[in-house]
Subunit: 302 residues, 2 copies
């Protein structure tokens, strides 16, 4: 199989694919597959007819809808990197949750331990957590959370049980009412946009913490900022924001109950280490006439 890596070739996945007998070529040399790691503006306007599969190196592909529409019409099939970063994102989620509850951002040079004695919370202390958009990352997160003994509710569109969760449900008011922690991992669709807003925050207990490792627009930033400033939420951990990057003068930066990381739940090092193997596997499935392991449903958009 001949493949092209766009927009910027990376050594590690190229070596992994070459080790399996595949050949790295330029776009004009009629590749069978494209590995793609850019944004919509980086995608070629025209693809050679030889291209059968595009392997995207990230999991959230909502920004590629126009690319899908255009090239799927020509029979090109797309795969994302769903599942490839379950462990990186799950560990980062736990790190955010702990940083919020252990009040890492409130630590002061003046040794403010009496303040922290009051404010610090422990994950093991009889907590309930809801994972909104529970798929592969959610399942791995549940494994990371297992030692804390939380009651865990997986929330997804199907309601199909998620391994390790105490309950799996579809989204309803009951979810917002009855949990201490809300972890957002849902894909961004018109249905999920601003799912955390003034109204849903209003249903949450005052002790709630929201962690967003999905997409920034899952949260209405203004409503969240207000609730954190007013104490209607105990805290938030945000790896993604709207807008993103979050402007340096945004109020969220100054709130010590809001721990922010700059979209680093997963990092390129792990993409580079793993995407070659996934591309090879997907190519094998494709040539066997099967559905690829991470094939994008271009109609659903993810």
């Amino acid at each position: 199989m001949k493949f092209t890596f766009l927009p910027k070739p990376k050594d590690e996945p190229i070596a992994a694919l070459e080790a399996e007998g595949h050949q790295h070529v330029a776009l004009e040399d009629n590749p069978d597959m494209i590995l793609f790691g850019g944004g919509p503006g980086d995608f070629p306007d025209q693809l050679p007819d030889s291209v059968k599969v595009v392997q995207i190196q990230y999991a959230g592909v909502e920004n590629l809808q126009d690319v899908f529409a255009k090239h799927a019409a020509n029979g090109v099939r797309f795969a994302n990197a769903g599942g490839l970063y379950d462990d990186t994102v799950a560990e980062s989620t736990l790190a955010l949750l702990l940083a919020v509850e252990h009040r890492m951002k409130a630590v002061d040079r003046e040794w403010n331990n009496t303040q922290l004695f009051k404010e610090k919370q422990y994950l093991f202390d009889n907590k309930k957590l809801a994972i909104i958009g529970a798929g592969g990352i959610g399942k791995t997160l549940i494994r990371f959370l297992e030692p804390f003994g939380m009651e865990i509710t997986a929330v997804n569109r199907s309601g199909n049980p998620v391994e390790g969760a105490d309950h799996t449900v579809t989204l309803s008011d009951d979810v917002w009412d009855n949990h201490d922690y809300f972890v957002l991992i849902a894909p961004l669709t018109e249905e999920t946009r601003h799912m955390v807003n003034a109204e849903t925050i209003g249903k949450m207990p005052d002790s709630a913490v929201v962690v967003n490792v999905g997409r920034g627009p899952l949260v209405d930033t203004q409503a969240l900022t207000q609730a954190l400033a007013d104490g209607h939420l105990r805290g938030a951990g945000l790896d993604v924001t709207e807008p993103e990057p979050l402007p340096a003068d945004h109020d969220l930066w100054g709130l010590d109950n809001c721990v922010i990381t700059p979209h680093v739940a997963n990092i390129p090092r792990f993409m580079e280490r793993r995407i070659g193997g996934l591309a090879a596997k997907n190519w094998e499935l494709f040539t066997a006439g099967e559905k690829m392991a991470t094939e994008v449903d271009v109609d659903a958009g993810y």
Copy 2:
């Protein structure tokens, strides 16, 4: 049984002991037991002859050696709170480790994700961790670390296997040479003082991270500061420091690879919730003529 709570009575443990039929009295009303939550200066010079047992509400009792010497000579027996805060300290240890490796303190309002892409490390990524002073907290910590799949070495004085550890050894150069993470939970003795110093840091790999949740003087602060500033250590997480409180102008505060919390790994809320139950249990053992569950070996000093 009659008990006194010094220096400052707390409602929750008093209620717990009263629920078991015990009676809260003043020191001059001949208590059988004293619950003690202060420092050496708070301990009464003279105890009524009625006092048989002193239940200390914390675990690290190195500052009470003179108190032990004086009153043990009169037959008073002491119990500490060892084991009562295994979960609080273990969770706090994990929070520090994650905050260091996920570079929480290096996050910048300028959205420095390219910096963090390079620097961020994951606990699940093939790491080796040594727990120096592995007892009850260490055992609980191992449980919290289980999902990360680390190779874990328990280090203690006996070399007796610790549940869940891949190896249990006594301290040697091999330990300092061969781990990514060093978690210090040892009690403070003349033997353990400054166990992390310029020499032992010199043996550690440059990628090492030191987490101290034991006692500040386990670490030579100056040597640690130097190594962190020079990049001879990747990071440190400190819940305890020497001196403590760490002065507001200390260099460690300014190092973004050093995450500091102000001695809050365990917090008074959990002491108050749990010490009454432990005191009742220890009293029961004492009256049955047995060794108390957390009896202090006053000669060993802990």
